[in-house]
Symmetry: C2
Subunit: 228 residues, 2 copies
DNA sequence: CTTGTTATGGAATGTCGTTCCATAGTTGGA
DNA sequence: TCCAACTATGGAACGACATTCCATAACAAG
């Protein structure tokens, strides 16, 4: 009766339910229906089993979400190629990560919710390696890598939240941003001159470009702090 | 039967339940017991009423959370004093915001979850005003303000998640970080040289300092990009 | 006092995550 | 071949929760 620990993975039964199958199906549901779509009801009906069987393979829903997150992130991070310079490498990592979080918005909130996940350690490690290659002073390398990571997670969560809100209103993402832009452009120019005058930009801008511009700001700042 | 819209706020009853009282009590519960502590059960028992009465004044739980968020942020942002330079002002705003999110960790996740909140517009407006004062080129002012905001939200969500995990394990925040540091320091130095060698720093570092160092990186990068 | 509106509080509903448990499948030994 | 012992299953049961429903209390105006 001792759950399923780290035992050998050989299936003793045909059509056996496996942890991997559960995670893959979960990812499919998350991608299609978002975070709220992943219920044990939906999961067990898709897997043609009961909730109890699923719990033999996973601890709880948090475990499942963290595993799904890792299953998507791990191979994606591993395949990132090296670049000519550390700065390019960081930019490339950020770029890949953005695309990944854009395809799987649920990762943004999940990754933030379970900070001890191995996926985040791997991200930090990659960032840290490049940061060291840049030649940042040892006292600042941690802060530099953290800053980049926190920024990436911030954008990721934000995109996730936008995707979630758009889904609730059954809107396309672009239409959703259109509505935000309209609302912001109607703000009083006295009270909110900055937001109001930039509202139009919401309609036309490219999230990805803005994100990478932010990465460039941070990189520039890190390097500038280092050479001083 | 048309709920309670924007009608006049005069109470027609003594000991009247008001939206404001509900929000204040919610904030008290959130501060004491975290996000999971805020249930309609807890809320109605504290207010000595029923769930139905509460729903007369609020739309749903999301409405309540957003309102609580705003009720804390609005006065806090408004009282931020001006500083000698725009860069100092941004640093001051960041600093105040950090302390606020540290005192009310639930704001971190709530603010991220409802991006259309007025509170976020106000934050952007403040940041944008200072960014303009710095003299950033108009093409970049939006990206610059967004970068700062995304970074702040990233750190905020992360602190919120840490606080939540610490609460679940009934640990003090410092003990929680201690455990993270221990786990990270036991990582293989081959696979994770950067994280492993910085694990010790987790135990001694000051979150606040790291956060502000990140703000400085970004500011430096924004300014460097502008003067080029 | 009467009537209509505003507001209340608690019961009822439906959806979750999670646990329980009877039982089926599988393996290794007698 | 039969028999335990372990592994795994599926669905019922449970408790917590957000939300809705509804009878009725409190109030204002006439």
């Amino acid at each position: 009766m001792m759950k399923r620990e780290q035992r050998e993975t050989q299936s003793r039964r045909k059509n056996a339910l496996t942890r991997e199958a559960i995670i893959e199906t979960s990812i499919a549901i998350l991608d299609r229906d978002g975070e709220k779509g992943l219920t044990f009801q939906a999961l067990s009906s898709r897997l043609e089993t009961g909730a109890g069987a699923i719990y033999w393979h996973i601890n709880d829903k948090d475990d499942l979400l963290a595993a799904a997150c890792d299953a998507v992130l791990h191979p994606a991070i591993a395949t990132i190629v090296d670049h000519e310079s550390p700065a390019h490498a960081i930019r490339g990592l950020a770029s890949s990560l953005f695309d990944l979080l854009d395809d799987h918005p649920w990762i943004g909130s999940t990754l933030t919710r379970f900070p001890t996940q191995i996926a985040m350690i791997r991200l930090l490690e990659h960032l840290g390696g490049h940061i060291r290659a840049v030649g940042v002073h040892q006292n600042q390398e941690w802060a530099a890598a953290s800053t980049l990571l926190m920024y990436m997670l911030g954008v990721g969560s934000q995109n996730a939240a936008n995707a979630q809100l758009a889904r609730e209103q059954a809107l396309e993402r672009s239409h959703f941003l259109d509505e935000v832009a309209s609302a912001w452009s109607q703000l009083s120019a006295d009270q909110y001159p900055f937001v109001q005058s930039n509202a139009e930009r919401m309609r036309t801008h490219d999230d990805r470009d803005d994100f990478l511009t932010g990465i460039d700001f941070i990189l520039k700042g890190i390097i500038a702090a280092g050479i001083r």
